[in-house]
Every structure is written in structure tokens, then in C-alpha cells.
Subunit: 217 residues, 2 copies
DNA sequence: TCAACCTCCCTTACAACGTAAGCTTACGTT
DNA sequence: AACGTAAGCTTACGTTGTAAGGGAGGTTGA
């Protein structure tokens, strides 16, 4: 499937794996299918990755590499804003990635460079070390959490109506969840509604709060 | 292993699965091991859960049931604060849960009741529907994201030093990540440092921001 | 009363997975 | 030409989720 002739390298393997996970979901990414995609046997992949965990680690690092680094020109707030929006966009493009970050305990070089650049932005803007830690934890928690919620959103992904789903619907009909019903009917189901639009509201609230904390601290 | 005599039911299966995932991690939760834990064969589990996905869905619902519901007595801010802290504590107790929420597209009854109660708290405090949606998205994104970061924290979980880890350490030594190094040496490695303490800083910043938005909106 | 029928457990079996082990091939150096 | 190494291949194994079917005990309807 890969059109480039010649020997394979790790990067091509990782890129193909990312593409496969994007297309069919992470659970359908197997060594054999990835081999087929690259025109080689599954076992040959082990010339480029140590094992599947290493493959997943590499994929995460690929994803981080796509996030726009803070340029450092503008003021910290707009730079942080752009970085956050880019991060969300990337995580939304690779829906499998956010949940995968869990067990990944060994970050790759691109990931570390990204973290370092963001910290550098904050420190350069005059944040104390402690305040930079606060800000980073807050911003990234929000970004990852939002991305995580976005992936789990579709209320029922078109699958057949299971017995459990029917039971839930019955509870809805019985008025057991009045506030959810209200939110769904009067807000979510409006034409043009897009949960992704929520992102910038929360982001700006957080950035404003940080700005206030920095100026008064 | 289960000491209760008599027939099994779904709840006991779910509880045992949660305990097993807590103890050994989600990846070691298999139908066979769960069967052993309950004193039955793997296939007998299918009398209580439809399949493994259903099992995982049920486990998530169990976790949500542990989160303290807003009592409704106090003002919205302290109620929301308590709920958020309880949620983080629960997710930290069940480290496998946050990442699992990804593909779980069909929330269980306990989960829905939880969401409904939080929305009810906000609406009861005078939040408009739109503002309640903002607030909920923001709070939960932060909670889940923080929990997600917490699980992936241990910089190296004591495993053998792989070649990749060595390469990373070499980059550290070469001063390639000055800001990360600074943060690590002057902040994180201080005695008594606990990343979990960051949670309340961000939470309060968010709640203050919401309060401001509500009073001026 | 007795036969039909659940419910909950069992055993057997299978395809798909990650990957250990070992072999072959092709290329860059010398 | 000789050789080391990198990158492919084949075979094989243990583990996974679960399809298929059987059997024991309790419940129910005629």
C-alpha cells in the first residue's frame, strides 16, 4: 500500500499506524494489518519498533509533533491560546490519542520538546516556576479533558438499539433526567449546535483567570 | 474468591471487575481471570454481561456511582467544589477509568443520574441553559483531564532503563529541555511535592471565573 | 402431576492477537 | 570475494474474546 519504494524506516511505520488508527480506530490497529498496509509481514515490523507498546508510544509522539509550538513573538496569552487551539484540533483529528496517553509513561522527544516550549513561553512571560506549574497543569488538563469528552460524545453511534439503550431511553421518557432532557432539547439539538464551540469559552475563562493571577500575584 | 454464597448477579460481577482492574490494571482484566476471582468459568460471565464492552460500560457506571452527588443545600460554588473533588478522588482511586471513558458511547443510569444532578445544581442556582452547558463542559473537562494526567505521571515506573529512556536522559543531560529541567529540579523534586495538590488551584480558578461570568452575564 | 421452560453454570472449540525463535536475502565495507 | 548487518520471511506458541451446545435445578401452566 505504501507507494514509496525502498526500505522502510520507523517514521513510515509510525505514520502508517497513525493513519490506520485514524481511519478505523485504535482497536483495529494490529501488527498484521499494519504489515499489510506497509506491504510487509507483521514480524518485520519488529525491525522498526521494539513491540506494540513502543509503537503506541511512537504514535503519541507523532501526534505531539503536529501541535503548533508557541512562536514566542506575541504576548503569552495569545501564544498560549493558539497553542491550545492547535492542540485540541490535533487531538480531535486523532481521536484515539487522548485516551492512549494514560499508560504511556515514557514521553518521546517531540513530546518533551513541546512541554519544554510551553514552559519556556510562560517563564519568559514572567511566570514564577510555581505559577508556570499551575498554569501548565490547568491548561493541559482542560485541553486533554475536553478532547476526551469530545471523543465520547456521540450519544449512540448508529449501532443497533441494544436492550440497555432502550432501558435508558425508557428512563428518559419517564422524566427521570429532567435537566438532561432540558439541555438536550433546548440546547444540544438546536440546528448548528457543535460541542466543539464550547472549547474556546472555557479556554478564555482559564486564560483570563491566569492573567489575573499573574498580575496580582 | 468471592465469599458470598448463592447465585451471582451483575452487580457482583461488575464490582469484582472493578476490584481486579484497580489491583492489576485494566490490561490484565480478562474474562478468565475475572471468572477465577468469582469462582466460575469465563463463559459463565456471559449470563450477566452481554460481552466485554458491556462489562466495561458497567464498570464505568460503577465508578460514577461512587462520586458524591451535589447535596443541594449549600450555595452552588461549594457544592460544585465538593462534587469536583469527589470526582477526582474517585477517578484517582480507579486509575483505569478515565482513559476508558473514551470509546464508551453509551452511558449507564448512574452516569446519567450524576450528570442530571450536576446540571440541576447549576440550573437551580440560576445558570441559564447555555451558561450551565459552558460550566459543565469546563468543569468536567478539567476534572477528567487532570485525572488523565495524574495517571500518566510517574516519569518512569521503575521499569528497566530502556534504550529509548536512555536516549531521553541523554537529551536531558545535553540541556535540550532547559525549562523542564528547571521545573523538575526546582519544583517537582522538592520534598513534599504532590502533583495532586495542583487540582484545587485550577478548580478554584475555574469556579471563580464561572462566578464572575454568572454575576455579570 | 408432569411437561415445558427459564436461568445459570459447564465444556469444547476457534479465529485473531502479540511476539519468540530462527532462517534467508541483499547491500555496504573492506 | 568475503563478511557483517539490516530488514525481510516463515513457523509456532500462549492468550484473548466468545460462538455453540449441553445439563442441572427451579418455576410455571395446564
Amino acid at each position: 500500500m505504501s507507494d514509496s519504494r525502498g526500505r522502510l524506516n520507523r517514521d513510515q511505520v509510525l505514520r502508517a499506524a497513525v493513519a490506520l488508527a485514524d481511519a478505523n480506530g485504535l482497536e483495529s490497529l494490529t501488527m498484521r494489518k499494519l504489515g499489510v498496509e506497509l506491504g510487509i509481514e507483521a514480524m518485520s515490523l519488529y525491525n522498526h519498533v521494539a513491540n506494540k507498546v513502543d509503537l503506541l508510544d511512537g504514535m503519541i509522539d507523532c501526534v505531539f509533533a503536529e501541535i503548533e509550538l508557541p512562536a514566542g513573538e506575541a504576548d503569552w496569552k495569545t501564544a498560549a491560546r493558539r497553542r491550545a487551539i492547535s492542540a485540541r484540533e490535533v487531538l480531535s483529528r486523532h481521536r484515539w490519542a487522548t485516551a492512549l496517553m494514560e499508560s504511556r509513561t515514557s514521553p518521546g522527544p517531540k513530546t518533551l520538546r513541546h512541554h519544554d516550549a510551553v514552559l519556556g513561553l510562560l517563564r519568559g512571560a514572567g511566570f514564577s516556576i510555581e505559577m508556570a506549574a499551575h498554569a501548565y497543569s490547568l491548561m493541559d488538563s482542560y485541553i486533554y479533558g475536553f478532547a476526551l469528552q469530545e471523543t465520547s460524545l456521540p450519544f449512540d453511534s448508529g449501532e443497533s438499539t441494544t436492550k440497555a439503550a432502550q432501558a435508558i431511553m425508557a428512563r428518559f421518557a419517564a422524566g427521570e433526567y429532567p435537566n438532561l432532557t432540558e439541555l438536550a432539547t433546548q440546547h444540544v439539538m438546536r440546528p448548528g449546535y457543535d460541542y466543539g464551540d464550547e472549547f474556546e469559552y472555557g479556554l478564555d475563562l482559564i486564560l483570563d483567570g491566569l492573567e489575573r493571577a499573574v498580575s496580582t500575584g
